[in-house]
């Protein structure tokens, strides 16, 4: 464990010790949350197996990896940009950047996703609450910015920080991270049509306004990821933190005990069609990415908690009741490795888990979802956030950035995309693109592209 990790772990333990004096029933939640604030990174759901199920899939070799990249002042033009990487085997530009389109500003570029027809890529900025819509289909090797949604906060009634963009038939379901009133974690889901018309805002359930939901312990109203399982008519949402925290300097945040208490500790089960919250699970430690299993009778999803370093299983029992249970540790939770992005293979057997602080990927056998077993561990870099795998599970890509103010400093602030082959046991390095050397910025969410999606 390096010194930076050790100091964070110590700090979290101290916070937890202090919080423990409050009330035993609150300890797991409030404490871990507080701890979480130290680290919780903002991963992205980013790969072919992790996208909305309502869109065409690339089941063979992908042609491109699109990387939504945070601008860095003094680095190139300094603006956020969508970077296109050629990953066509045999191409003379394999493993190289072949396109970069800037949006003319810095917005805390973060998550994004395709529309259900996969023709457009929606990419959001957590700071400015702007949404950028890129045309992918006209020239998949050279996306272009088609339009920008600038009135997200006003249109949605005060939601701040558009986050994940999840495709539904003819519409996009966005999760917010915050609100304009106090820039805390209370937020909402927002719906748009594919052409950018605002449709509806659905606020997360809270203790004051549970909206009919059963509450296990707390209802914080926070948001992060949103995933639908249509054959059960259910949706899950997870919880992170608000703008006041995610825009704060990381070192300052760690030293602010009040700020460190403001992290999500819930996963909400919704009746999807009605957009009706049904049950608020207590999942302490900032549950981030949600991945439903793909199998037709696999009624479960995984999430990981950034601050408590656990894999959680949300599952339905034989009686139709839903539960959330911790099923495995990720590394040594006491070290606060900070699990961020996860990627579940298309056969539901393998779960990749990135941990930001130690820059590692850990691979779990999750064939028995109640008992994940780690089968591989490899260091990717000084820091790592996103992991994306191809549908066939043969190729895996990694990027580095969490948030502009949370990434590591100095030489450890590596910014790259790395491509690997996965043989079922080990990763084999194929290419690296240094995003600093290329004057691009901080590499964040990835999405895969293919010419044949649009060829007639």
């Amino acid at each position: 464990m390096d010194s930076s990790i050790r100091s964070l772990a110590d700090l979290i333990r101290r916070r937890m010790a202090g919080a423990g004096r409050l009330a035993t029933t609150v300890i797991p939640a409030g404490v871990l949350l507080a701890a979480a604030s130290v680290l919780s990174p903002v991963p992205v759901r980013a790969d072919e197996t992790c996208m909305s199920p309502f869109m065409p899939k690339i089941t063979g070799q992908e042609d491109y990896v699109y990387v939504w990249t945070l601008g860095v002042e003094g680095l190139g033009d300094g603006f956020d940009k969508l970077v296109t990487v050629d990953v066509r085997p045999g191409s003379p530009t394999y493993g190289q950047v072949i396109s970069s389109v800037s949006v003319g500003g810095r917005n805390e570029a973060h998550h994004g996703g395709f529309t259900d027809d996969r023709r457009y890529f929606w990419a959001s900025g957590l700071d400015t609450s702007r949404i950028f819509i890129f045309d992918i289909h006209t020239d998949p090797g050279k996306p272009r910015l088609e339009r920008t949604i600038d009135d997200f906060v006003q249109a949605t009634g005060g939601v701040v920080g558009p986050h994940g963009a999840y495709a539904l038939p003819g519409r996009m379901l966005m999760s917010g991270l915050s609100n304009v009133k106090d820039e805390g974690g209370r937020t909402a889901l927002v719906e748009y049509t594919n052409d950018g018309k605002f449709l509806a805002t659905h606020w997360m359930p809270t203790a004051e306004d549970p909206r009919g939901a059963q509450i296990e312990q707390v209802a914080d109203g926070y948001g992060y990821d949103q995933r639908v399982l249509p054959r059960k008519n259910v949706m899950l949402t997870s919880s992170f933190t608000g703008k006041a925290n995610y825009m704060m300097d990381f070192g300052k945040l760690v030293q602010d005990p009040e700020a460190m208490k403001r992290f999500g500790q819930t996963v909400v089960l919704w009746n999807f069609h009605e957009r009706q919250p049904r049950k608020v699970f207590h999942v302490p430690g900032a549950p981030l990415e949600i991945r439903w299993a793909w199998g037709p009778d696999h009624n479960y999803a995984f999430t990981t908690t950034a601050l408590t370093s656990k894999i959680w299983l949300i599952h339905e029992d034989a009686g139709g009741e839903w539960h959330a249970d911790p099923v495995a540790d990720i590394g040594n939770p006491a070290d606060i490795p900070l699990p961020v992005d996860i990627s579940l293979s298309a056969d539901d057997k393998t779960l990749f888990v990135d941990t930001f602080m130690d820059g590692k990927v850990r691979v779990f056998d999750v064939a028995d979802p109640h008992a994940p077993k780690q089968i591989h561990e490899q260091k990717i870099g000084a820091q790592v956030n996103m992991v994306s795998q191809s549908w066939d599970g043969k190729r895996v890509y990694f990027t580095t950035s969490l948030l502009a103010n949370w990434d590591k400093k100095g030489a450890d602030d590596e910014q790259f995309i790395k491509g690997y082959d996965w043989d079922g046991r080990e990763l084999h390095h194929r290419f690296t693109i240094d995003f600093k050397e290329r004057q691009l910025g901080r590499a964040h969410i990835m999405r895969l592209g293919a010419d044949s999606l649009y060829t007639n």
Partner: protein, 239 residues
């Protein structure tokens, strides 16, 4: 260098996987087992859809946009306007082509279930219009669509129109307006048919606004009927 990676329109997953696992269509089941005039068993869960349907009127269906007009040919070869067919009714519009052997039959099965439900429910019969339109006019002539109608309609009580396009120009305008993608199938040996497309079914209110869009994962007749009844309830309440 593989220039044509395998791509799959969203037929593989969700309901389709359940369909394959269950050995039946996503909208098959009891609703297909009864004859003309018998109401579909709405309380039964069709394979692939394991939930109780929502209560009509308990949720909102915000307008997604205007349903586009366009010129088409009906099964007799007569010219029809989409807006003319939709006027004054709640409409369900499904784009298909008859040579499709994978996902279009699932969309058509949904329409047949809705047709049976409308025939069996006096409250639905006069307010619902079903429209099946082909995007393969070279093959799906009015005569072919007439055969489709003959094989699928279970009576005259409930309305179900079968359309095709006069030509690819008029078809292209309609498909573009509805965001219905159709490409040549990049896999020539694919037994699913010569075209690659997303399956989309549109729910349109009496004023011509799209109120929901269903892909393969949502082709549950109980769900669509709940939406139709929700619109009817809201309209009767003046909302």
């Amino acid at each position: 260098m593989p220039r044509h990676p395998d791509v799959v329109l969203p037929l593989l997953f969700g309901a389709a996987m359940a369909f394959l696992a269950g050995g039946q269509g996503a909208v098959a089941g009891p609703a297909h087992d009864h004859g003309h005039g018998s109401p579909p068993a709405q309380s039964a869960r069709p394979p692939g859809f394991d939930y109780d349907p929502p209560e009509p009127g308990s949720y909102r269906l915000p307008p997604l946009g205007e349903a586009a007009d366009g010129e088409a040919l009906d099964e007799t070869g007569a010219e029809r306007r989409l807006h003319g067919l939709m006027a004054g009714r709640i409409a369900v519009l499904s784009f298909i082509y008859t040579r499709c052997t994978d996902i279009c039959p699932l969309g058509t099965a949904l329409m047949r279930d809705l047709h049976e439900a409308a025939a069996a429910d006096p409250a639905l019969t006069p307010i619902l219009r079903l429209i099946t339109m082909s995007f393969d006019p070279d093959h799906d002539t009015p005569e072919v669509m007439a055969l489709q109608a003959q094989s699928l309609r279970t009576g005259d009580e409930a309305d179900w129109s079968f359309l095709t396009a006069r030509d690819k120009g008029s078809l292209g305008e309609i498909l573009a307006a509805y965001g219905q993608r159709v490409l040549a199938n990049p896999a020539p040996d694919d037994t699913g048919g010569p075209l690659a497309h997303q399956l989309r079914v549109y729910l349109i209110d009496r004023s011509g606004k799209i109120r929901n869009i269903y892909s393969l994962d949502f082709l549950d007749p109980r769900l669509v009927l709940a939406d139709i009844r929700t619109l009817a309830l809201k309209e009767s309440a003046g909302q």
